[in-house]
């Protein structure tokens, strides 16, 4: 046996948590928190994705290098989003400044 076998109980708990978080994200969307809604939705989605990556995808039990690879993908995605938004969000500022 070369790999860590995750106990069934842990999978069951993760599965139940993922379903619960799905209900939470649906419920939260029925309230109007203004700008906060999108951040809450993204935070819940990221919590769910993290659980899937750590337990279903075994990153928690894998060599650290696998974790580095997984994190790298999301870091580069964040770079893409950050630099794109730093353009679009600041366009209005310059128009206001010039106008």
């Amino acid at each position: 046996m070369s790999q860590h076998v995750v106990p069934f109980k842990i999978y069951a708990v993760i599965f139940a948590t993922l379903l619960l978080l799905t209900l939470v994200t649906v419920d939260v969307a029925t309230y109007n928190f203004g700008m906060m809604n999108i951040y809450i939705a993204l935070a819940v989605a990221t919590a769910k994705a993290t659980l899937v990556i750590l337990y279903f995808m075994h990153v928690r039990y894998a060599p650290a290098l696998v974790g580095v690879f997984a994190a790298a993908g999301f870091v580069w995605l964040l770079l893409l989003l950050t630099f794109t938004l730093s353009d679009f969000i600041t366009r209005g500022w310059i128009a206001g400044f010039m106008g």
């Binding site: 046996m1 070369s2 790999q3 076998v5 995750v6 069934f8 999978y11 599965f15 993922l18 379903l19 799905t22 209900l23 994200t25 649906v26 969307a29 109007n32 928190f33 203004g34 700008m35 906060m36 809604n37 999108i38 939705a41 993204l42 819940v44 989605a45 769910k48 994705a49 899937v52 990556i53 337990y55 279903f56 995808m57 075994h58 894998a62 060599p63 290098l65 696998v66 690879f69 997984a70 790298a72 993908g73 999301f74 580069w76 995605l77 893409l80 989003l81 794109t84 938004l85 679009f88 969000i89």
Partner: protein
Amino acid sequence: MKRWGEPLADHTEAHALASHHKHQFETIEQQQETSTLGMWAFLVTEVLFFGGLFCAYTVYRYLYPHAFAAASHHLNYVIGAINTAVLIGSSMTMALAVRAAQLGNRRSQVVFLLLTIVLGSTFLGIKVVEYHDKFVHHLVPGPHFQFEGPYGREAQIFYSLYFAMTGMHAVHMIIGIGMLATLTVLAWRGRFSAEYFTPVELGGLYWHFVDIVWIYLFPLLYLIREGG
């Protein structure tokens, strides 16, 4: 560590015992970890592939927040939530299929792989019903697109992104189901054991990744609030 030119007698003997162990790897564990790392390298490219779509979505949602909220209200979030649960369920059965493979349990491995195929197909079936509904209500971008209110043009951008993102996700699901069918046949024929089940493990990684994409798509497409 073996040096070049040393006799490989004991090595080939071990090789005969574990035929899946390729000679360039010291141990079967090392081979397995290498495969896992390679699969993750592929999944990182997938993150960035979907990342382009998510980036386009972010830009247009930033530019047209009210139009996106109005357009999103035409999606049925109850159906979306049910489909999310179905897909999470399929990830659960996939994880259990990998676990059965680790334990060398052929029967439950086949059962869990089949269950994953059934849940994945259920997801796609529900998606077909949703797509059909969008065709009926003229919400498919193109010459027949109709949207009441002031946001007709921007709503079409939302639905272009909706079809591009869920469509690309569905293509990944279809490929995944084909992959699962292949794995089921191989598992049925007893090709995997507690010592060697790398294809099941890597197939699982792919399936869970597709699940993660949907975990983000669901709130971003179905649950948009006015002003959010």
